[in-house]
């Protein structure tokens, strides 16, 4: 009899799994919403995304980037939902997490659905089937079955790697396990069945306080500013605590970060038979950036080194070429006229304790709406040799003065000769 019970239980579990894709949608569709940003001037939608209800009082989770236009210009847009039964209503913004691309919105009128999604308490095992829900390209709500492939490696901004198609418009939709419990939120795609989800813990953190009083529109930017400030502090602590090793590049030794925080690529022109010089490059960067609005990204880091040498050029010709190689450096992140000031630079001839003499140029631009956050650009060229040299370059987006100065000091101080 006991065996029989076990067999029955197994059967019903399998049956549930088989039916999941069919059933999930009908079961939960009343808790799924299309989220629309309505431009007040034209009265029409300017962008769309998805969202899902997480409690019985009409609080929905979506992506920050779905509602970013409203956050930046609350006087020009409003947020609207379209429910499964075709009803439409206004949403107010409750809270945001720009670093993890999440937002909480709430149905303004009381007529929200009684159904809602529950959050899973833990992430599934790698290889488990999970189901992404959303409304791609305004085509209607769909279910996309896929596979949970763990939390993405090499990332500071954590994402779940989801093997399955996520398309524009599905952003903000939930990803559920076969039991219908939310494990992540659709956020991005890298094409070819590679999708990314905001992991469960970030959703828990955002709704953890259970405080669902809407933010005042004048506080939106202040919340973003404080989240960016805290985030850059965490990022630079991680960078400083990381193990920096000295790697060889040409005749120089450059600092490289061990571990998986930055992803690095190399290149050289040694295959070019006609080149009169040798160029060897090493470029590292954070894979993700923080999306603030259509024209503004921040939170990124790029670190680049290039070794140049030539047996053919004399000193004059080499240094003319060298000067050309350090000109024209630009920002690492996208930002517009209303977001940041123009760059201002300072330069000097600097020698570090390893007797590396560099022309060092440090340029900064400030964020207009987030006080004491800056984009930093550094470019340096060594001056010790007649016809060889190292270009060292980094860009930091959205960092504080202290982080920028500490990082610059460490970076310039770490370059050495072999």
């Amino acid at each position: 009899m006991r065996y029989m019970f076990f067999a029955l239980a197994l059967y019903s579990a399998m049956g549930f799994a088989q039916q999941t894709a069919q059933n999930l949608f009908s079961h939960y569709q009343s808790a799924l919403y299309q989220i629309r940003i309505i431009e007040l001037g034209s009265g029409n939608k300017s962008s769309i995304g998805s969202g899902f209800q997480i409690n019985d009082s009409g609080v929905l989770v979506t992506n920050y980037h779905v509602v970013s236009e409203f956050v930046y210009f609350p006087e020009k847009y409003r947020i609207e939902y379209l429910a499964a039964d075709g009803s439409v209503g206004d949403l107010s913004l409750v809270n945001i997490d720009v670093v993890n691309d999440l937002a909480l919105v709430q149905v303004k009128s009381g007529s929200n659905s009684a159904d809602f999604f529950s959050l899973s308490s833990s992430l599934p095992e790698q290889g488990s089937s999970i189901y992404s829900l959303g409304n791609p390209h305004d085509l209607g709500m769909i279910v996309v079955p896929g596979t949970f492939n763990g939390v993405k490696k090499n990332s500071f901004y954590q994402r779940i790697h989801f093997t399955g198609s996520i398309n524009p418009g599905m952003s903000g939709g939930p990803v559920v396990n076969p039991e219908g419990l939310v494990v992540g939120v659709n956020v991005a795609t890298a094409g070819n069945q590679i999708g990314f989800l905001v992991p469960l813990t970030k959703i828990h953190a955002l709704i953890g306080t259970k405080n669902f009083t809407p933010l005042a529109p004048e506080d939106y930017k202040k919340v973003i500013a404080s989240q960016l400030m805290v985030n850059q502090q965490r990022l630079f602590e991680r960078l400083e605590q990381g193990v920096w090793k000295s790697n060889e590049l040409g005749g120089a030794k450059i600092p490289t970060l061990e571990g998986a925080l930055l992803s690095c690529w190399g290149d050289s022109n040694s295959a070019d038979q006609e080149a009169l010089y040798l160029s060897v490059e090493n470029r590292c960067s954070l894979d993700e950036e923080i999306f603030l609005h259509g024209g503004l990204r921040t939170g990124g880091i790029e670190i680049e080194f290039e070794w140049l040498e030539s047996g053919e050029f004399g000193a004059h010709r080499f240094y003319d070429f060298f000067s050309g190689s350090i000109s024209g450096a630009g920002a690492g992140n996208q930002a517009g006229k209303n977001d940041v000031s123009n760059y201002q630079c300072k330069q000097d001839i600097v020698a570090n304790t390893h007797d590396v003499k560099t022309k060092s140029i440090l340029c900064l631009r400030a964020y207009k709406e987030f006080a004491h956050l800056y984009d930093v650009l550094y470019i340096g060229a060594t001056l010790n040799h007649e016809s060889q040299g190292l270009i060292s370059h980094f860009t930091l987006a959205g960092v504080s003065q202290e982080s920028a100065m500490r990082f610059t000091k460490q970076f310039v101080g770490a370059i050495a000769w072999q």
Partner: protein, 328 residues
């Protein structure tokens, strides 16, 4: 007193002077005339010009010619002539000179003229031309990243020099027209010399800006020095081409310098306050032998950047306030 006439060109320039110490002269195409003019539209005896012995006033009388005589474009048979009246006989024009009027004072001979004599030597000019060609080739070479072939570059450099030659040639032609002397050799010499000075200043600017961290004031000093050299060059071009007073040369020279410098500067300033995602920094690097100054240490460099942060904060605050007051 005498009768003085000037033969004029179509452009009212004096081609010839005639002075007659007689109270009466005959102008025409005939061989016995006092002033004989080779113009097929002039009659054998065309006009008779007389001078009153008392008050020295001058009269003329047309000798009933086929084409008549025009005084200041009006046909007249006879009458009194005044200074600067223009007689037209056939196609020839004669100006009556008022001998009572004093001529303008002589221009002082310039000491400069003597000290610049060496510029008019062809050997010097050829040497300077070749030296300039070599200099521009050397610059082309240090600027090249790919294999450098002298014979490939020669036509390009010579083409550029031909283009530059337009300036001295224009001044030489003007000199020839207004001054009957082109002085083309001197014009070329000063062109190449000026370009040498420009190259020298460019290198000096590079050296200073590299070693002293490209201070903003240097840009203005450079602009002033370049403008002065340009003014000197234009001044000398005019000095060789025209006879004019120094005052006039200074005025015209300053105007021409401004006409060249102002557009160049304003084009350079154009859009400098626009938003750009690229920083504007000085990327000059020089080989170790040109590094004149000891290096700072890393801490000093990083600490000095504090002012940069402060300046930016202040600017953002200013702009924020300006925007607020604009909104109000």
């Amino acid at each position: 007193m005498a009768i003085v006439l000037e033969l004029l060109s179509r452009k009212d320039q004096t081609l010839k002077y005639f002075k007659f110490n007689k109270p009466e002269i005959l102008v025409g195409r005939d061989h016995h005339c006092d002033l004989r003019l080779e113009d097929p539209y002039i009659s054998a005896e065309h006009v008779r010009i007389t001078q009153d012995s008392q008050d020295h006033s001058i009269f003329f009388e047309d000798c009933q010619t086929i084409n008549g005589t025009l005084v200041n474009k009006q046909s007249m048979a006879s009458g009194k002539l005044h200074g600067n009246d223009i007689l037209k006989l056939g196609r020839t024009r004669l100006k009556v000179v008022n001998t009572n009027q004093p001529v303008s004072a002589a221009l002082p001979l310039s000491q400069l003229e003597e000290s610049l004599n060496w510029l008019s030597s062809s050997a010097v000019a050829i040497l300077l031309t070749l030296a300039y060609l070599v200099l521009s080739m050397v610059f082309g070479f240090t600027n090249s990243v790919e294999a450098y072939n002298v014979f490939d570059m020669l036509p390009k450099e010579m083409g550029q020099m031909a283009l530059l030659s337009a300036w001295p040639i224009v001044f030489a032609v003007m000199g020839k027209v207004f001054n009957k002397e082109s002085r083309v050799v001197s014009q070329f010499s000063i062109l190449w010399l000026t370009l040498f000075i420009f190259y020298g200043l460019y290198l000096l600017g590079k050296l200073l800006s590299f070693n002293f961290n490209a201070p903003e004031a240097l840009v203005w000093v450079e602009l002033i020095v370049y403008s002065l050299v340009l003014f000197g060059f234009i001044w000398l071009s005019m000095f060789f081409a025209f006879h004019q007073t120094n005052k006039r040369r200074n005025i015209v020279g300053s105007m021409m310098t401004l006409v060249i410098v102002v557009p160049v500067v304003s084009i350079g300033m154009l859009g400098s306050s626009d938003f750009s995602a690229k920083p504007d920094y000085n990327s000059i690097l020089l080989p170790p032998i040109y590094q004149l100054r000891p290096a700072s240490d890393v801490t000093t460099f990083v600490e000095n950047s504090r002012t940069l942060f402060m300046e930016l904060d202040e600017r953002i605050e200013r702009e924020g306030l300006a925007e607020q007051s604009a909104d109000d």
